[in-house]
């Protein structure tokens, strides 16, 4: 029980110290999990991270589940995951309430008009970075273009595109041996 509590608190700490996406979490995991606690090796962490990226869900959550499970089985996986999302729950609930209340004040509106421009730039940068890694040949370029056109031009559920792209990937793998082993 005490060990699960330590697991929870350790991952809550990782959650508090992660600003931004999964990549921001890697150096913090390296320090807390590999160096301080010795719960996983550098290589295991890299493996978990790679798989966390290409399995459904938030990378940080996936990595936490992996390490927790390795440490204390299924209960450990669940506890570590709850730990990593716990700070978000508290902080965002407090902030969302405050922001909703203050959203009509003029300077808050002005601030968010500026912030939205920045959000566009940050998302554009994310698309560029992901694109360089995922659009690697004519086939992936084709999937990218088809899905981009359909996602922009229709209101179909994203689930449709995920299933379409997954099937395309498997067919290409079987026919043309595309998609090597994960690195």
């Amino acid at each position: 029980m005490k060990q699960l509590l330590i697991l929870f608190l350790t991952f809550a700490k990782v959650g508090v110290m992660t600003f931004g996406g999964g990549y921001a979490m890697l150096p913090i995991l390296q320090r807390e999990i590999v160096e301080n606690k010795g719960w996983a090796t550098e290589e295991e962490l890299a493996d978990y991270f790679a798989i966390g990226q290409c399995t459904p869900g938030v990378i940080a959550v996936n990595t936490a589940t992996f390490i927790g499970r390795k440490r204390y089985g299924v209960a450990g996986g669940i506890v570590a995951t709850l730990g990593v999302v716990f700070p978000s729950l508290i902080i965002i609930s407090l902030l969302a309430g405050v922001i909703t209340q203050f959203s009509e004040i003029v300077w808050v509106k002005n601030a968010f008009a500026g912030i939205r421009v920045c959000v566009c730039v940050l998302i554009a940068n994310a698309v560029w970075k992901l694109g360089k890694k995922s659009v690697i040949d004519k086939w992936t370029a084709g999937i990218f273009l088809v899905v981009a056109a359909a996602a922009i031009g229709t209101s179909w559920s994203p689930v449709v595109f995920v299933l379409f792209a997954g099937v395309c990937g498997i067919v290409l793998q079987v026919l043309l041996k595309k998609g090597g082993a994960a690195k």
Binding site: G21, T55, V58, G77, S93, L130, G131, V135, T140, S155
Partner: protein
């Protein structure tokens, strides 16, 4: 029962969003369109808040949406919905780790999924750009917005001294510029 619907919507998001926090964005737009629980403008604010507060972006966005829809209980339910598929999938994968990594079908599926995920985030970007730059009806186009965007693009990609800075720096900087120039008027 709003909690059940929240859980189900975020369960689907957690199950189908591949490629990290931003990959949940197209699903959140889809939820917004179908349920009207929150607006596209609120979503853009959520991205900013989620990037500038502790915690993974995907989790923060789910918590935020949940809170707007159902208060603190909604925040908890949406977050649990998002992480439940992850827990299940990872527990299964970790039991078959070696097989999973070398499966040609798994690798093939992700070969196709990664460009699709990027394309869907691009589509979400188009919506955010429309909401940000197109003027509300009856107002003129504000040329200060694209200028700010160009400056930010340069600072985050081209200027060596600033491109490694954390996104929160640019978000706070943009907020200050917004207040100083009165960008919402």
């Amino acid at each position: 029962m709003i909690y059940l619907r929240l859980f189900w919507e975020f369960f689907k998001t957690g199950l189908f969003a591949v490629g990290g926090g931003m990959a949940t964005l197209p699903f959140l737009y889809d939820i917004s369109d179908r349920t009207g629980w929150f607006t596209h403008a609120q979503l853009a604010d959520m991205v900013a808040v989620s990037e500038s507060t502790p915690g993974p972006i995907g989790v923060n966005m789910a918590t935020y949406v949940g809170f707007l829809t159902g208060g603190v209980g909604g925040a908890a339910v949406a977050t649990l919905g998002l992480i439940t598929p992850s827990i299940i999938v990872i527990l299964i994968v970790s039991a078959f780790l070696a097989k999973f990594r070398s499966s040609k079908y798994v690798n093939g599926a992700f070969y196709g999924l990664r460009p699709a995920s990027t394309a869907m985030i691009l589509a979400a970007l188009v919506l955010v750009v429309k909401a940000t730059f197109l003027p509300a009806s009856g107002t003129a186009f504000d040329w200060r917005l694209p200028v700010l965007a160009a400056v930010l693009l340069a600072l985050t990609n081209a200027v060596p001294q600033t491109k490694k800075l954390h996104p929160i720096v640019f978000i706070l900087g943009s907020a200050v510029v917004g207040v100083a120039l009165g960008l919402a008027q």
